[in-house]
Symmetry: C2
Subunit: 343 residues, 2 copies
């Protein structure tokens, strides 16, 4: 029950600048902090109680001074990443979750409609709302930068292959494919909605890769282009309910040549849902249903494997990223699944 | 970070009626539950993952059926109280907390202004907004009913005393005083804003106590009526910053005859703020600053004792309710402080 208040008390101490002040000047009192950050000392004292309780900040009864405690030992990069997560949750989820029940009933993101007048998904709304866009893209770029080396380090892309990056947005996945899996004759095609084309082509040119990368516009639920040796599906399947995931997998199968491979990157729930060290279950159902899509959410690795088999694939690899390699503030536990088109 | 999503995933399973259905019909599948509650089976399955993780609900892999697990062993009264708390937090806090930082900077409840166009405090806003009122009053009546027997069982009200219930709202405290501490000649006066008078008098008449109870309208920060043997201050001091708490205590002192007593009921933080079994620190700072008052929050028992001494009192009793007597879903850990006017 205290989840929402704990979350915002902590974030607010960062937003007010209290943590930065204490990093620069350990020992400041509530009165001095209040002056420095423009809040009443009483409010500073109240908000810091939780950080003292958690051992993030130390309080000296005698002097009345505060100093960073555990927070002083967090590397700046880790802290910035954690704050980007917290900002994402604040901006895209905290208020929207109020409408979770209505979202589950209607299959639409009621919170986006109520708060932003937006009819579609979060991915539509980021185009029109700067605050959503900043908070969303800031995190997504971090996630991609952190997970792509692992993903490409664990898949095989044959020399000279024709690769399709399904729902590849504005081409970052295609660029990474070329950088990590370069070979003579390698061609990567980004497939996404037509309105992404100009940005994608500009990105390809900026990287000097326009000869090797191309863009095809379309909708994955209509027809996916055909004749590829490899299809990549990254950060996508978890956005949909089973029916749509199966349609996407069927489409990927049809777009591959016989013996072609699909490589999927997707967050997964643990096989034993009661495992305590995986927070995907604590976060994603409410996030996808109430805040981003009005549907979707990850599945267990074994469920994705079964659905792949139902769509005409033979699974050749299925690995979940080791939780111990993931910083504790990073919620998604990602898995990689490789499968070959049968027959 | 997963606090807000955990909170709403759980509450949403109740709001959708999933828990009630499972109580009536153990073994329903996600598809059957979806039909019954009007949501897509995929969404039901996603939202139930967390309840399975926490052991609240059991899932049978073979049949695909769900049944209440730990939730089946929670008494209905306890569950209803917990749900009232969760509803209070959802309605009065979840969205408002988005604006916590701005509230701390301005000393106003920015969330109420943004979401309801309300300029004042939550206590003002409940008069105009039915959803806030329902969620707030529903809980407050529960809290009062649970804590008043303990409070009155631990204070002494001399026979025939003149008692003032400070900020006594519409008279419930006065009625309880008379019921629990009846004596020949006992007179209890409710002191609160003049607009509460007609409701208070109606409540007194409805109880047949109009001869013993009276109402005086006014503002505690202007002048408190004088000449009382006992002043009660219940559920009030925690709403204010130190300056205002001291003004209230000074006023209570002035309203008492020499040797008169003040009895205070207020939630407190533990003396060792790092104690894990007290959630007041996790909840109240953000709640008072961001959702109800734009200021305030409880203090440690020792701080209230010091402030009472600064206002001319000698503390005669200071007890915190035993945490083991408080149901785990009840956040406030209340304390009782009695003090005598010195000189």
């Amino acid at each position: 029950m205290v989840g929402p208040s704990r979350f915002m008390s902590l974030l607010s101490c960062f937003e007010l600048g209290i943590v930065d002040r204490l990093r620069d000047s350990p020992g400041l009192t509530a009165a001095e902090l209040g002056d420095a950050v423009g809040a009443k000392p009483d409010a500073v004292e109240q908000l810091l109680f939780l950080l003292v309780k958690e051992g993030f900040v130390a309080y000296d009864e005698k002097s009345g001074g505060y100093a960073l405690d555990a927070l002083a030992r967090v590397a700046e990069g880790d802290l910035n990443r954690a704050l980007r997560y917290m900002n994402l949750i604040k901006v895209t989820a905290l208020r929207q979750l109020f409408y979770l029940t209505e979202s589950a009933r209607t299959g639409t993101v009621v919170g986006l409609k109520e708060l932003y007048g937006a009819e579609g998904t979060l991915y539509d709304a980021v185009a029109d709302h700067q605050d959503l866009n900043d908070s969303w893209l800031g995190l997504m770029n971090t996630v991609t930068a952190n997970i792509d080396p692992w993903f490409f380090g664990n898949i095989d892309v044959p020399a000279g292959a024709r690769v399709l990056d399904l729902a590849g947005n504005t081409g970052l996945g295609a660029i990474h494919t070329y950088r990590y899996k370069s070979s003579p004759g390698l061609r990567v095609t980004t497939f996404d909605l037509p309105e992404k084309e100009s940005d994608a082509l500009a990105n390809f040119r900026a990287e000097g890769l326009e000869e090797h990368l191309s863009f095809v516009g379309g909708n994955v639920f209509d027809e996916i282009p055909k004749g590829f040796d490899v299809v990549l599906i990254k950060h996508f399947l978890d956005m949909f309910d089973k029916d749509d995931v199966r349609r996407i997998l069927d489409g990927a199968n049809a777009s591959l040549v016989p013996g072609g491979q699909v490589h999927i990157l997707v967050p997964v729930y643990p096989e034993d849902i009661r495992s305590a060290d995986n927070y995907n279950v604590d976060f994603f159902p409410a996030f996808f249903i109430g805040c981003t899509m009005g549907q979707g959410g990850p599945q267990k690795l074994s469920v994705y494997q079964r659905w792949l088999e139902e769509s005409g694939f033979k699974v050749t690899k299925a690995v979940t990223k080791d939780a111990s390699e993931i910083p504790p503030d990073v919620i998604p536990v990602q898995a990689l699944i490789s499968a070959t088109k049968v027959g």
